[in-house]
């Protein structure tokens, strides 16, 4: 049976974050923490594979203890196992340090719950928004990486080959690769289901497996958390909107206004440039 790991990050819903206009700082109060929505498309695809081909689905999340909420949500939808990787030492990680810990965790998942065939990540998160963790984890685990996947066309369990569509800026690429692979999920991949009642009941009682730094004997402490992160956020600021002198073009009728605007435009370099 296939074993699929889904990486899920719990994130503040950055769409809800506001900037305090007086202090230019983030207002985080009342901003809900949610399971990153691209990751839920990854989970949904894993569950569909489980339903059609048979698979075990394990969800992995690195984050503080409240992230159990997102793991329970995954269980309610149909995931079989859930692991929370949590420790003060992991805090402040950038994508390099995150992929290191997720790589180790998925190795351990393979030892504990069985060999892994497919890893799903989201295309990117709502908060860090880098899209770098997927390729990073693939690299750590030496998996083929299939990013920006909009459709899983086929999985041939016999030959261990998978065919997917990748949605790129200029078109769709159909790619075939050999399992094990890492896939990063787009929202085009599927529509995420709602949790069925039995799933919700299971989730309510479910206790995820919890691993801390203690559970990884081979862990190199110089590679985790803030210390293991090459990138640092030096400063954040609210960009000032471009200062332009706006000229209001006015008139009694639309024709007058249009005429005035065109007269202005013809004083610029645009007509020469475009041969108007």
């Amino acid at each position: 049976m296939l074993h699929i790991v889904v990486c899920v990050k719990q994130v503040p819903d950055s769409r809800e974050i506001r900037i305090d206009p007086k202090t230019n700082t983030l207002i985080r109060d009342g901003v809900p923490a949610i399971a990153n929505f691209y990751d839920m498309h990854g989970l949904e695809e894993a569950l569909r594979i489980k339903e059609t081909l048979g698979a075990k689905v394990t969800v992995v999340c690195m984050g503080p203890p409240p992230a159990v909420k997102s793991l329970k949500q995954c269980i309610s939808l149909g995931a079989d196992e859930a692991v929370l990787i949590t420790d003060r030492g992991f805090a402040g990680a950038d994508t390099l340090a995150t992929s290191y810990v997720l790589g180790l965790s998925i190795r351990k998942v393979a030892e504990v719950f069985g060999q892994v065939d497919i890893v799903f990540c989201g295309k990117q998160t709502l908060d860090g928004d880098t899209g770098q963790v997927g390729p990073g984890v693939a690299c750590r685990l030496d998996l083929e990486q299939l990013t920006y996947v909009s459709k899983v066309e086929q999985i041939d369990v016999e030959t261990g080959r998978i065919t997917v569509n990748r949605l790129l800026e200029d078109g769709v690429e159909v790619v075939e690769a050999k399992l094990p692979v890492l896939i990063t999920a787009l929202k085009e991949l599927n529509d995420v289901r709602r949790a069925p009642l039995p799933g919700m009941i299971r989730a309510a009682r479910f206790q995820p497996t919890i691993w801390t730094t203690q559970d990884f004997p081979e862990l190199d402490r110089s590679k985790i958390g803030l210390k293991g992160s090459p990138t640092i956020v030096a400063k954040t600021w609210v960009p000032e909107s471009k200062q332009v002198s706006t000229e209001f073009v006015e008139g009694q009728t639309a024709e007058v206004i249009a005429g005035k605007l065109v007269a202005q435009l013809w004083k610029t370099e645009l007509p020469v440039r475009f041969g108007w």
């Binding site: 390729p135 083929e144 065919t163 030096a234 954040t236 909107s241 332009v244 073009v249 041969g275």
Partner: protein
Amino acid sequence: MVEESKKESSKQDEMPDWSEYRGVMIFIEQRAGEAKNVSWQLLGEGRKLADKLEVELIALVIGQSVDRLATDAIAYGADRVYLADAPELNEYRTRPYSRVALHVIREVKPEIVLFGATATGRDLAGAIATHLPTGLTADCTILDVEPHPSRLLLASRPAFSEKMLATILCKRYRPQMATARAGVFEAAPYDSARKGEVQKVSSLLSEEEIETRVLQFIEATDRFHLEEAEIIVAGGRGLGGPEPFKLLQELADALGGVVGASRAAVDAGWIGHAHQVGQTGYTVRPKLYIAIGISGAVQHLVGMQNSDCIIAINHDQDAPIFKVANYAIVGDLFQIVPALTQAVRAQRSAALSQQVPHEVVE
């Protein structure tokens, strides 16, 4: 290992000696031998960084039958090009491309490496940075460097749904890597007189060693290149439906431009996503941008505020779009837009009938 980590922590903030690492490298992304514009834009920006650091600008070209791109890279500002040309590099695949790129980066030791923040650029940069390992800043919209001796790359990127900007540094590792957004930076003019050196590098994996196959590429048909348009006439929720986009198309035709849209119009299904300007659409910097029935949410502004000339048409005089507009018209778009189309047509035919063509006037 323990020794090393102790050393690391004691000089956390001190900069190690990076004098071996010099130069700014740009990955030239292409498909079927045609470069993506973002590559030339990054060469334009990379040239400025390299000049400030007084180092070479280096291009990395990977593909099949792509030697022309090496010549183009020099014309766009590169001093030196590393060129890997082989059949197994015809299509982008992570492993063969990252093997070549890693090899070149390890040999050449650039202090900065930049990629377009495209699907391919992010896929490749993410793999390379983890292998090296080094820091990778995502999706930058502002790039700068501190002068010698720190030589730090100041990589700034939008954060929290574009509400803020964050400057990200990589002090303890080299090279400093970043992906940068298409449409934000400007390419230098093509100069075929520029001289540079091309160095061939070989592909490192044979086809048999590569497990991934690209079976097919289906080019998007509705995809016209919004980022490349020099005149964009964009519509938003104020249009109220798909029909009024015809009015915008007429104005665009009269000016020789294309039609763009806000996300609200795209989400409503009035026009395709290929037309969307903004954070989750395209970043554009045309010579002329006309925003019609668009309020000017930050997520829209980030995609168009670098346009050379902005005209906004909106019946709400307090609409934020007016803050970035050079010309503002407060009024009903259904009256203004047709009148404007008429006025443009009239002016153009008047110009045509004049004896002296514009080109000669200059």
